[in-house]
Symmetry: C3
Subunit: 379 residues, 3 copies
């Protein structure tokens, strides 16, 4: 093992974007859909995909099973240990110190930020999902001409809670990024609210979505944006972050914007992070789906032209605790493969490789989110 | 050679999408344009491209020539042997058991499905190209308000012929995929037919193209869709299969949809195959154009997140028999490189590698097209 | 070192697209922004990006510093030597015989084509940027209905100067490529000129941009088009050269069209170069930004399906002389890695590898630009 991998293994990561996991024991029917952005279908098990292969290879040993254990054995052992023990084992193994947890998408009962952090022996912060705030404002009842103020007030309340370090938007899912980039006027927002408030449903009005993005600018906290792939709700061609370029010009000099996931548009994200001071990105979610075997290749594309100050680590773990571990492992293995390979080819100095590894795994997030950091070697 | 390559070499492939080849002897002027999606131009021989290099490397020995034989020698030997013998040699070498042959594009005399299968010692099925059916309906004469019924009846007749296992559309060439996804009403179809029928030419009316896609749904057979690159008639940005997402939502639970070729949008195709139960894909055509030297890299991108149940093998051989062999070789070499590499790195078990190789090369197609299969180890 | 690398090292390259460099000594504040398509920001030094790493690795030794020298030492030594000596050293090291210099973008004082060529011991040609010609016509004063003729006359004057071998357009920056492909009528051009001439500013009117592209066709010289990434002025999704397909159909059989840079749309560019006789491309700019460590991977994608007659070499050096050297080095290292790897795997003959290397590095440009060539082995 090279020096870069050793350093990354010893580094307490900052996972700047993740979720909670289901706090219940999961049988096959409940577990498989959580493994994939698709679903489990007759004859098509998510275990027979790169992420499933990676779980059987890299997660089974943490449940005392042999590498590449069959899916049935894996699931049986998981049930035998119980979800609390499984959760604890994967979070201990993740080597992650800090978790920024998106608490806005909870179709069922999920572990809370503090539960995640406690199991890992680390600390937790919260990320507020703005679409959920907007939908709560509507559910609480509001007149169209009061919507803009009510949403802003509710968002301010939400981010003033202790531990909140960022906001997030899933505009990529709701409208895509091919939006008018300008801040909408109050009258235009009221007009849109007049239609959306009585119609109900999730926030997918283009005017209200861009109003949401501009409200994020007013809040002053870093904004996380889902980009690239996800479940079938995404229109992949409208989730290309390059479509945000006009909006990024208008918001230059304001808040940090963090492009999440990005695949298969990670080169587009890398370009934006290279030419805009306030843009950062990660390939979270992507890394555990492609698995450690392919993480280096994806990172190599993501880092082709990009300042090493601009890549962050996230697991985007959701639903099952395996992904805290698998995301961290794929990140460490892929980044070490990339950097060590360049050191071995004398294309990069060992000293720089160690700096860049630490930046991506921890320091860049500490800097963007202004996290306290008393770790050895911290900035 | 590793175990995966040995297993793939021994496996009789199902080539789920190919064409016939020119049943005539070909001089340089006739052969070169069939090598490329472009053309042969003064000073720019298709032999001096990856596919031409691969033909000289991997096909020349089957004509009793040394590896990397010069183009002139290759063509002279090809003429000397005669097209029937050349056809027989490449089809014997392909190691393909089953051919699903698109019979809808025949600018000249091409080998029929049975000729292809007989030369290979395998079996053939037919794929009906729906645009050709529509154009035949127009040529036979029909009133605009009878077009929808006449097209559907003709399509039903076409697919009820013995041996037909699928239909195909080249909507990517005609309009691209940025279509209204909804099924058009009869009145709208009649209105469009009123313009297209007298105007003649190929089917490129957006309403009639989407009527064609919905008629495919009614037929109940798997639908093959050209996506990604092809000749200069393609607008590559409109052949991105992600543009089909809305239509795929509307057709979920109906027919299997098979995205063909896909490059350079193979990651988009892989995403769709991951999140939609009824979507499958291949990188046929791509593999022989990039050649065995690059097939593993393309497959690695195509399989980054994808369930191994969702990739199929096709050669998309057209025009020259070399491509039955070269497509199969590139597939076997590329997939073996990918899977064996992961086995060697202990990222994948040998047992899983063998399963996945067999699925992609044969079993997935048997399943989607409901082909008879009495091969050893068949499902 | 393999035979391909030796041959490429010995080959005098034709750099078919580059710029001049700042003819002044540069401190850190002046140097860093020239290293990147972004900028230097607090805490985010361009030295800590792939291009900065490559400069410290591959350029430092030419300034008598150790490999991977720290940025401060690098800058101090650069100042100590003075810009003329630095310029001379990097141009001597580049191994480039011929420079085609775009003289149209000169925000400050830049070296002239002859200065570049003299320092390298080579020869220089000029590329005329058509947007600059149009803007000069406006500044000189012209009536709207005389604009079309005045622009054409000015462009003709510009290209008739000695040494001019091509024209260039930055339409990608100004409007993107999603343009009406047809040649605009005189009346339409006059109408557009009526708005643009008094408004001033850079040429970004869609009608006048496409009039510019059609004027390039009339001039009869090769046309270079910026495509793909650049600084933050680019909308990356509108700089996809696939959007030019309709225009390429209309201009088939006229002038050579050279797609520059292309990343991350280099596969799209490769497709166009494969299916259109008059289309060529390069991955200049990209290669020094990704650095020698990643150049082979980018070239492998760019050359996946492409005739080897269609790739050209350019450095796109601008601002700092390092990039003449680094671009050439990345090209040689990347192309040798690709071709030698295939020779070693017996996928390509050594003889073909040497031919293709020479074509891409020199002969293709000699052919397209009809350059005099008395080099040994020239065509």
């Amino acid at each position: 093992m090279g020096a870069v991998r050793e350093a990354l293994d010893a580094l307490g990561l900052v996972d700047h974007h993740c979720h909670g996991t289901v706090s219940a024991d999961l049988d096959r029917a409940a577990f498989e859909p959580l493994l994939t952005e698709g679903d489990a279908w007759p004859g098509v098990s998510p275990f027979d995909s790169p992420v499933g292969v990676a779980v059987r290879r890299h997660c089974a040993p943490l449940l005392d099973l042999p590498r590449h254990a069959p899916a049935d054995e894996y699931l049986a052992r998981r049930l035998e240990l119980g979800w609390r023990e499984v959760h604890r084992r994967f979070l201990r193994a993740a080597g992650t110190d800090v978790f920024c947890v998106d608490t806005g998408y909870c179709p069922g009962r999920l572990t809370a930020p503090r539960e995640v952090a406690d199991a890992a022996g680390g600390s937790a912060h919260e990320v507020v999902r703005l679409e959920s705030v907007a939908e709560s404002v509507r559910e609480a009842g509001v007149e169209p001409d009061a919507y803009a103020d009510a949403f802003r007030a509710a968002a301010l309340d939400a981010v003033r809670r202790p531990g909140v370090v960022a906001v997030k938007s899933v505009a990529a899912y709701r409208t895509g990024f091919d939006l008018n980039p300008a801040r909408p006027s109050d009258a235009v927002v009221t007009g849109a609210a007049r239609h959306w408030l009585p119609a109900g449903g999730r926030l997918d009005d283009p005017v209200l979505v861009r109003h949401l993005l501009w409200t994020a600018v007013d809040l002053g906290l870093p904004l996380q944006l889902h980009t690239g792939f996800g479940d079938s709700d995404i229109r992949l061609h409208r989730a290309d972050p390059a479509l945000l370029t006009d909006w990024l010009h208008l918001t230059a000099g304001t808040i940090p914007v963090l492009l999440l996931h990005c695949w298969p548009h990670h080169r587009q994200a890398a370009y934006l992070a290279t030419v805009f001071e306030h843009v950062y990105f990660d390939v979270g979610l992507t890394l555990h789906h492609v698995g450690p075997a392919r993480a280096g290749a994806v990172l190599a594309e993501a880092l082709e032209i990009t300042p090493f100050r601009k890549l962050l680590y996230s697991s985007d773990a959701y639903g099952v605790a395996e992904f805290y571990h698998l995301g961290a492992l794929a990140f460490r293995q892929g980044l070490a493969e990339l950097l060590q390979g360049r050191v071995d080819a004398d294309e990069l100095s060992a000293r720089d490789a160690l700096r860049f590894a630490r930046w991506a795994g921890r320091d860049n997030a500490v800097r963007v989110y202004r996290l306290p950091d008393d770790s050895p070697g911290g900035e």
